[in-house]
């Protein structure tokens, strides 16, 4: 797993995608989660809060504590992920695979308020394969305390080649 460390800055990037997920934002800025992150050597916490209405308290980290900042949307989420040492994300497949492809340690937090919550299927399957950790907002602290980043297995991205081969054969095209 890659670590985006530079100048001693170790960033935890939190992303909720295009939705709102205040429960996650509240969970990451809760005292015990912040303390655990600080204990693990992370220096900055940056939150992409989407459409959420809860704005977490900002903190510049001057007193040696975890620096906290947030924004709503950005077109360059990938850059933030690239510069992060740890990513905490909602369960959308876009954010999950973007993070895994960049080889960043990832904790996926499932939104329990969503009605048709099929998204936890993906996160749980990938957790079983040790590509990431899966948590709920209330269990985020617990997941952080037992997290061992060395035990994560790097994800090998797939592609559409098997689909393309079957489509080509079906339509009568010769194999390349």
């Amino acid at each position: 797993m890659e670590d985006g460390e530079n100048d001693g800055k170790r960033l935890v990037f939190v992303t909720v995608g295009t939705t709102s997920f205040d429960a996650l934002v509240k969970a990451v800025v809760s005292q015990n989660v912040k303390e655990e992150l600080h204990k693990r050597g992370y220096t900055h916490l940056l939150i992409q809060m989407g459409r959420g209405i809860y704005s977490p308290p900002k903190c510049d980290g001057a007193d040696g504590s975890l620096a906290v900042d947030y924004f709503t949307f950005s077109s360059s989420i990938a850059d933030y992920i690239r510069s992060a040492s740890l990513v905490i994300s909602h369960a959308g497949s876009g954010s999950i695979f973007e993070t895994l492809k960049l080889g960043k340690p990832l904790i996926v937090v499932v939104n329990e308020d969503l009605m048709d919550n099929h998204q936890c299927e993906l996160a749980e399957e990938l957790e079983e394969r040790k590509h990431l950790y899966c948590a709920r907002p209330h269990s985020l602290h617990q997941t952080l305390t037992k997290m061992e980043l060395d035990s994560l297995v790097r994800y090998t991205p797939g592609d559409g080649t098997p689909v393309a081969r079957i489509i080509d054969r079906f339509l009568g095209f010769p194999d390349d």
């Binding site: 299927e121 559409g160 080649t161 079957i166 339509l171």
Partner: protein, 233 residues
Amino acid sequence: MEEHHCCFYSKMLSRFSISSFMLSLVIVLVVRVLYVMYQCGKPFPKGASRSFTTLIVLGSGGHTAEMLSLLSVLRMDRFTPRFYIAAATDNMSLHKARSFEDSLADKPAVKEDSLQFTQIYRSREVGQSYVTSVWTTILATVHALWLMIRIRPQVILCNGPGTCIPLCVIAFLFKVVGIRWSSIFYVESVARVKKLSLSGLLLYRLRLADQFFVQWPQLQNKYPRAHYVGCLM
């Protein structure tokens, strides 16, 4: 008296002929539907194909990313001209499709005629009331029909969510009526591990998709007609 009889018989006869006409029409239709269902999923003879008019239905967010991942490994000369369709509320997908097409190395002059990007009305947005959705469903159906008549695709690539369903149903009707034969390829989203999405389930159960792909082995165990192809992402 005789006239009366005559009238009676001719009425009976016309009634009989109308009902027998209707009956034979229904039979022909049923036979045709069964034939189309039988022919769906049958591969084309090898070497017969050049290129296909292709309709690409973009879902949104993750769905679009998966579709573009598939398109990036397809031989694009085989799928020309290409028509991209996305929901009217989805501004990002067509933008992404455009940048994908721009990244291809084709000559721009050739591209102009063989590429189109269109938005389609959705029958129901998240949270919309059911009363207003009657009207929007009619509007969406008419719009889908108009687009399909214009494009008459030979290949449809889709991967959910619901936007692709009316288009696939119309494509099936086109096959029944004989307007256009098309092949529908559906790739279930990578987010579906244990259960198919509603769109996927409909296309699988109604046998509307010629080839059906899933990205996790658990789903193939449940739906044996599906191809397990591993993750697109």
